[in-house]
């Protein structure tokens, strides 16, 4: 058996009950993560990648609801434990870094108060200990003059520095799993490179697993071991990072790779966009959600939603068609 399995998500379903109808934000997501592994969760806005992450942490609030599935973390189903227990997991064993460093810090509390909070709550440190540890943490994430800046407020930090503070907070209790939800999307490329280097270094030093949520196939290539591509609440394809780029087996993955200009490739006269729009998740038609935009579409695609099937070692795709030599 896979003894070093850290997280197993089985048939996770999270729906939002809105005035307009039920939004099937995450509709049957399965994946497994090993300890210390970095998994990239890729997809466009509204594909359910953030909702998947929030469901793992059980941070879904009404009108959203986790309606089914299991999230087995360290042998325990997080969807079954009581509120007391999930609070002990959040921020302690699983930590999260959010997209927007400008809004995810409390503007009226000092950095010290915010970083220390988890240390005092989860590790039972007193004020002096937590302050000392907070300064260490800020040094680890590369904030210059940490001892001086710890009493500053968030507005005195730049975007990149705030994201470092967020990472310091996330690391405070040595989590086994770090969920980073588009942590560099709001940042400039040079700052993005700094944050990516930082997370890579910390991962090596602390041995934590990372779920890196992004829409940027480039970021994933540089730092993840596995990639999960999501589309309209479903997993479209899941593979080792080398396979997803060299041998994509889902038309959506192919489309994503073909539609972005690459900095190093010969300049093509035209990009190959994916025609059409992502589907409405309220009135999802039966069949494959990508079928209306797909170039490989066959009859069965409109009738039945494909399940993930193996197409190689550790490589799964949810597609009826046999996509092989289609590299754009």
């Amino acid at each position: 058996m896979r003894d070093n399995t850290l997280l197993e998500v089985r048939n996770l379903k999270t729906y939002f009950y809105t005035m307009d109808g039920t939004v099937l934000a995450v509709d049957g997501v399965d994946f497994v993560m090993r300890e210390g592994q970095t998994v990239g969760l890729v997809g466009e806005s509204g594909c359910g990648k953030s909702v998947t992450a929030l469901s793992i942490m059980r941070l879904i609030t009404p009108p959203g609801k986790i309606v089914g599935g299991q999230v087995i973390f360290d042998g325990e189903d997080l969807l079954k434990v009581d509120d007391e227990e999930i609070r002990r997991v959040r921020g302690n064993k699983i930590a999260m870094v959010f997209q927007d460093p400008m809004t995810s810090l409390n503007p009226v509390l000092t950095i010290n108060r915010q970083v220390s909070e988890a240390l005092e709550l989860h590790l039972g440190m007193n004020k002096d200990e937590s302050r000392k540890r907070s300064i260490e943490l800020l040094e680890i994430v590369g904030i210059p003059e940490a001892a001086k800046r710890i009493d500053d407020y968030p507005h005195q930090f730049s975007g990149g520095m705030r994201q470092r503070v967020m990472i310091a907070m996330a690391l405070s209790c040595n989590p086994q799993l770090l969920i980073a939800d588009e942590p560099t999307t709001a940042l400039d490329v040079t700052i993005q490179a700094q944050i990516i280097e930082l997370v890579k270094r910390l991962k090596k030093e602390l041995g934590m697993a990372v779920i890196w949520i992004t829409h940027d196939m480039g970021v994933v290539a540089g730092m993840c071991e596995r990639v999960i591509v999501m589309y309209a609440g479903h997993i479209a394809e899941s593979a080792r990072v080398s396979d997803i780029y060299a041998d994509p087996r889902h038309p959506y993955t192919l489309g994503l790779l073909g539609s972005i200009p690459r900095l190093d490739a010969a300049r093509k006269s035209k990009l190959t966009p994916i025609e059409g729009l992502p589907p409405d998740l309220i009135n999802a038609p039966p069949g494959c959600p990508f079928a209306p935009r797909c170039a490989w579409v066959i009859d069965i695609c409109h009738q039945e939603c494909p399940r993930l099937r193996g197409v190689g070692p550790g490589h799964e795709t949810a597609c009826w068609a046999n996509v092989k030599e289609g590299r754009a």
């Binding site: 040079t190 540089g222 080398s242 972005i260 900095l263 190093d264 035209k270 990009l271």
Partner: protein
Amino acid sequence: MSINEILLEVKGLKMHFPLTQGIIIQRQVGAVKAVDGLNFFIRRGETLGLVGESGCGKSTTGRAILQLYRPTAGQVLFEGQDLCKMAGERLRQMRRRMQMIFQDPYASLNPRMTVGNIIGEPMEIHNLAKGKEKQEKVQELLRVVGLNPYFSNRYPHEFSGGQRQRIGVARALAVQPEFIVCDEPISALDVSIQAQIINLLEELQAEFHLTYLFIAHDLSVVRHLSDRVAVMYLGKIVEIATRDDLYRTPLHPYIKALLSAVPIPDPTVEARRERIILVGDVPSPVNPPSGCNFHTRCPIAIPLCSEQEPAFVDKGVDHWAACHRV
């Protein structure tokens, strides 16, 4: 009309925003030097890419060229005529020839106007068409940007982000301009939609002989679309070259670092790449560093860099850079 005709020339453009103190009696205590002395030109029919990080002044440059901000100093010559000296009716006449496509398709369309009115309004303002003729032109424009012509009675909220951006493009085209400033037209869109808009902009350029100033922070997109590229840092242009020169043989240490920081969607390439990681953040444009304003983050800075501002000179064939070390 020759191929190398210069359509727009910018000379010594400065755009400073005053910082004031006091409630009743406002004193000026400083200025945000958003754009601080730019020199460049754009040839008719070409695309000049303008790249840089957030806050470097690239959007301000676009707006100052169109006189949406009145520049503090400098000249903006459109076919040799200085737009900064124009006002009133004369400027309005010139504005027909220059349009803008904005970044955020959710904020740049009036939610209370129908798509037909949004696209038709510029035609009325410039007395180009009205009544039935206007309606026909609106429908034609919708077709040109890839939307259903019968959408003209709908409101912006009925459209997705990509479709709204197409409406924004149609509005810009309504007055048959020669020059369009595209201010990050795709960065608010989803990845799979971005390529649709990029292709549309390229098709329209070929069809209507448009000249673009394409402002973006995404170096891969700028490379795809531009003929020449200008790189900005803290209100100044640090390098201008043709696309191939700039991406193949970048000179300035800032653009070298920028290029190395762009992730490439290929794990084998990523594993071999050497990253130049810049330390620190972009300094404040209120109080820019002395000398070369990049010297605080530059990996190859020498003492001279903090003392003297490097001249912007031609280091090759039409390959301009401002750096003491190259």
